[in-house]
Symmetry: C2
Subunit: 419 residues, 2 copies
């Protein structure tokens, strides 16, 4: 596909901006009708979407992008129908726009109220996962935002077909289909321009690898919501219940190792090591987890490779785990402070004071006592939708729901008051 | 003063970071005791602070920095006592740290609660206003944050004296005085390094000129809360009450022209121009306001200079105002959309539909009906403290109180649940 002219890039941003203005005032009913039209459109257009996807897959195979990437890129008809189902779930969620957050009547009689409003235009940068295209588009639409999508050149044909379905569906119910734009045709240069599109884009959400997120965070002049990477710790305290410690460590590591809330490092209190380390490592080995241990762990347990500095800092996203014996809760807290990406950490303990100290002192988006780190999830938290998991402290921290895709404004109603 | 060695810069950031960790767990009582000690310290050290300030003033006069800047820089003993009074007002404010924002018990029995926690370390970049040094330090302390201050080389001696008082006061009650740091000795290079100090600084707040804010926003890799500049509009609708229109326009422009919530542009509906424009311009002229009008205004009213494109885009912060006659509410909304910095806009009207459309469609932090734009203020809104007025959409929008200086984290309490 030939690259469009440069001003075509700005035109797409401007279209999203113009559409966002009208979308901000759209009723929940109208937005839900658009979402239903998208779901129906996806089901009807499934064959042509799968055709477009086949072109991307063929190109991906030629370019040898790897089996994992190819699998994430692949859309068959059942997967397209699953996308339609995900869109219908978003219809059921409450609309955050117009919610009154707080308000009061001032002493001089002026009424002030803070209400939720859409950001305007959300930019999304992600990697070759067509499901994210539909996911973000639907969440943005429900929260009244326009969206500019940069989904990676490997999924360009698929994303173009999906965005075409979405735009037609939105227009079919009388809203502005321009609200959803893709800039895939503009390649890497387009991604770079999106990061500097102040005035067109109100917030940028990167989803994907740590490298992608780091690039967006450091190069963007548009405000960013940082999502994602998780070097997640499970700390087994001296007083941990034995079965609970094994269940939680195993679940946190192996339930779904490829996601950000999976555990990467197991810290075990020296006082629990004799009784628990053999059980923990046996269970992990049975689940095919490759383990890397500190010197004390390697000395105690046969067949564990020595860990190095990189072990502790790595988000494996695979059946691999670092294991370290610590002398105290303090040493566990210090290890976490040094290596955590501040996503999720859990302690397994029966001691009240240890639990409360861990909750108070670990500086992560989610801090847990006696639960699997896999519960850090918008769906599990009852938000109904997974916008992503913020690992920054500004605006949103932890699992993000629809309200996190809004800003607020103050409405002030007076009767002629002056100062 | 000789510039300290480069690693001394990182040392100050690290000191703030270490202190912030202990401050996060400090009780409200302990933080209030530190604030009282600061107030007492300022009163006792007033003579030496004034001496330090005299050195800055002398240098400022030699460098011919101008009368306005010199006045903002000047501290006499009454002004120092006023700073102590401002610190005592912050003691009276509720502590946001530890507030439970929301929470629930999940179907599986896990309890989740979202609580307010300090950001960690706040960076502040501002210009030669020693009162901001105390203001930000006290607000940061109350909200449990460390703070790194870059207050401008013109106020370096004054800021050093103030920070010394603050550090000693915090230490005197058993908290870590390193929580408040100045990087003034590191000059412009220090400001640049602060903007890239990811891992040391959690959020950066610029306060000052539009140019300063723009530099910080575009150059910073640390998340920024953008405050400030206001190209603020008052729109007099066709149906406006005559007296109210004059009162609000005059108050919005002249009550305190040097601040960001002062009006810069007056838009008047053509249908109200015959009856109101002479009264409005007479009142503004009597208040010594220089006016710049569009062609229609210049034609109607003698002695008004023609406006140009720059008039509409300028935050005058002085007794100057642009005046434009618009054909309709739509034209007023379009003008505001084009030139507003999205701080505050007000409509004066008796028409319900116009009022509601203005509230819904103006995309600014604060949108008003029949009230002076001067009410956009943390104190007026009942927040008790003025951290600044955010003109961005992420995290905080409009007047910011102490809660806006916090993040949140999720505390999860389980009984061994796994997925």
């Amino acid at each position: 596909m030939a690259m469009p002219a440069a001003d075509a890039f700005i035109e797409r941003l401007q279209n999203a901006r113009d559409a966002a203005r009208s979308l901000a005032g759209a009723t929940t009913d109208a937005k839900n009708a658009a979402l239903e039209a998208i779901a129906v459109g996806l089901e009807r257009s499934a064959p042509s979407i799968v055709d477009a996807n086949a072109q991307d897959l063929e190109r991906g195979e030629q370019n040898e992008i790897g089996a994992g990437l190819l699998d994430r890129l692949r859309l068959d008809e059942p997967r397209v129908r699953a996308l339609a189902g995900a869109v219908r779930e978003i219809i059921a969620l409450p609309d955050p726009v117009g919610q009154v957050v707080r308000g009061s009547t001032l002493a001089n009689g002026i009424g002030i109220s803070q209400v939720r409003v859409p950001f305007g235009v959300i930019g999304a940068i992600y990697e070759a996962r067509p499901n994210v295209t539909i996911d973000i588009a639907a969440l943005a639409l429900k929260s009244g935002n326009g969206v500019v999508l940069r989904g990676g050149s490997a999924a360009e044909q698929t994303n173009a077909a999906l965005v075409d379905v979405v735009q037609r569906a939105i227009s079919s119910v009388g809203l502005d289909g321009g609200a959803v734009q893709t800039i895939d045709p503009f390649g890497r240069e387009g991604a770079g321009r999106l990061m500097r599109a102040r005035g067109y884009v109100d917030v940028l959400i990167p989803r994907g690898s740590a490298a992608l997120i780091s690039t967006v965070v450091t190069e963007s002049t548009v405000p960013v919501i940082e999502t994602g990477s998780g070097v997640v710790h499970v700390y087994v305290d001296e007083t941990a219940d034995d079965d609970m410690a094994v269940d939680i460590a195993l679940n946190a590591k192996t339930h779904r190792p490829s996601v950000c809330n999976a555990a990467e490092t197991l810290l075990v209190h020296r006082g629990a090591a004799d009784r628990l380390l053999p059980r923990l490592t046996d269970a992990l080995r049975e689940a095919d987890v490759s383990m890397y241990g500190d010197a004390a762990t390697v000395e105690r347990i046969a067949g564990i490779a020595p860990a190095d500095e990189e072990t502790w800092a790595t988000e494996h996203l695979a059946l691999e785990m670092g294991i370290r014996i610590v002398d105290s809760l303090d040493e566990a807290l210090a290890h976490i402070d040094r290596y955590s990406t501040r996503h999720t950490e859990a302690i397994v303990t029966r001691d009240y004071a240890s639990a409360e100290r861990f909750l108070a002192e670990v500086d992560s988006a989610v801090v847990m006592v006696n639960a699997s780190t896999r519960f850090t999830d918008g769906g599990e938290f009852g938000f109904g939708a997974e916008v992503g998991i913020s690992t920054q402290k500004l605006h949103a921290r932890g699992p993000m729901g629809l309200p996190e895709l809004t800003s607020t404004k103050w409405l002030v109603r007076g009767a002629g008051q002056i100062r």
